[in-house]
Subunit: 209 residues, 2 copies
């Protein structure tokens, strides 16, 4: 696989490490490593330590299981956020996506995956029980299911929905429809169909853009 002749083991090592990253081939790895070589020692140290520290010091928030530097994450411990609305997402990336919209001021619950018989992921491996326990505390009034629109996402939605049945809590899901700026012509039939079924009052749609 690698026939390169490195005159330096240190260089070879660094290239090997970089090329373990997804989407980084050996040519790119070499380019990145040669770039690091041109930086001063302090920059290289900062780079390396940022990865080591991240992996060693980062934890999962014990309330929402989002990534965190502290036992309870900055979102969960932020009292200006509405703890009565919980947005349920698959992973920490989805938390960032929702946060980037600046449209949500509630809290989160990160499942750490979705139910998938094919991949052998059972409900017990996900943070579903911990979600139910949060609801049991009685302060949550709405659960927003923000899982992917796949069979696995639907299965997980339904599983959680049934678990939540005994509680006085509204269960909602994200609106599906045509992306803002998209043409009808290029929208798939299922999305277009849903956007007709779940059409909204024109006046109420004016506020959101």
């Amino acid at each position: 696989m690698h026939t390169e002749n490195f005159s330096s083991r240190l260089l070879e090592n660094a290239v090997n490490e970089f090329s373990k990253l997804p989407g980084i081939g050996r040519k790119t790895a070499l380019r990145l490593v040669l770039h690091m070589l041109r930086q001063d020692k302090e920059s290289a140290r900062q780079f390396g330590e940022s990865i080591i520290r991240l992996r060693e010091e980062v934890v999962r928030c014990r309330v929402c299981f989002n990534i965190s530097d502290t036992e309870v994450c900055s979102i969960c411990s932020n009292n200006s956020r509405d703890g009565s609305v919980i947005c349920v997402v698959e992973n920490i990336r989805d938390v960032m996506s929702v946060e980037n919209t600046h449209q949500f001021n509630g809290k989160y619950h990160v499942l750490g995956g979705i139910i998938s018989p094919v991949d052998g992921i059972a409900p017990s491996q996900l943070e579903i029980d911990s979600l139910i326990r949060r609801v049991e505390e009685g302060t949550v009034r709405e659960i927003i299911l923000a899982l992917p629109t796949t069979m696995e996402g639907d299965t997980t939605n339904f599983y959680i929905y049934r678990k939540l049945k005994p509680f006085q809590v509204a269960v909602t899901t994200l609106a599906r429809g045509i992306s803002v700026g998209d043409d009808l012509e290029y929208t798939d039939e299922i999305t277009l169909g849903r956007s007709i079924l779940h059409r909204v009052d024109f006046e109420s749609s004016l506020g959101t853009s």
Copy 2:
């Protein structure tokens, strides 16, 4: 520029460091960092330390100025290589390219750049004097100039050629011609022209492929 909301400073730091790399945008940086997070601690440590150690411990070979883990690099200290032929290249990447051909068993000299009035690179900033000193020792019989075929490369070639005039040393340069497997139709005129001017004996061409 970055409107992401990271719930973790450690995560944000690591993403910032990755996105300093050339060709790595913030989305890719996040993807790479999340990948690192999924690895075990030992892997993350190995990755980080490979960069730190590289930058802190690697040196330039004091003979040829190639990158090296030791004062004299593994190529210069390899006695089975022919020290009477020196291949002059612009940078350490070019050493790797030539090594990968497995066609060269001599030694190298890395200039660390080429003469470029536009970029303000003068001969004194390059490892040219050190090359002349190697020739002065009297054991070198051939210098292969393997610099880029650009105006700067030509200037540097000519500068070195004149510096070597006083010495009993053959100065050669890489053959330019049609790439192996390329069609004449798609070869630029200058390359095709050179390959006609510098045509080789058919029989002697049979050995190389």
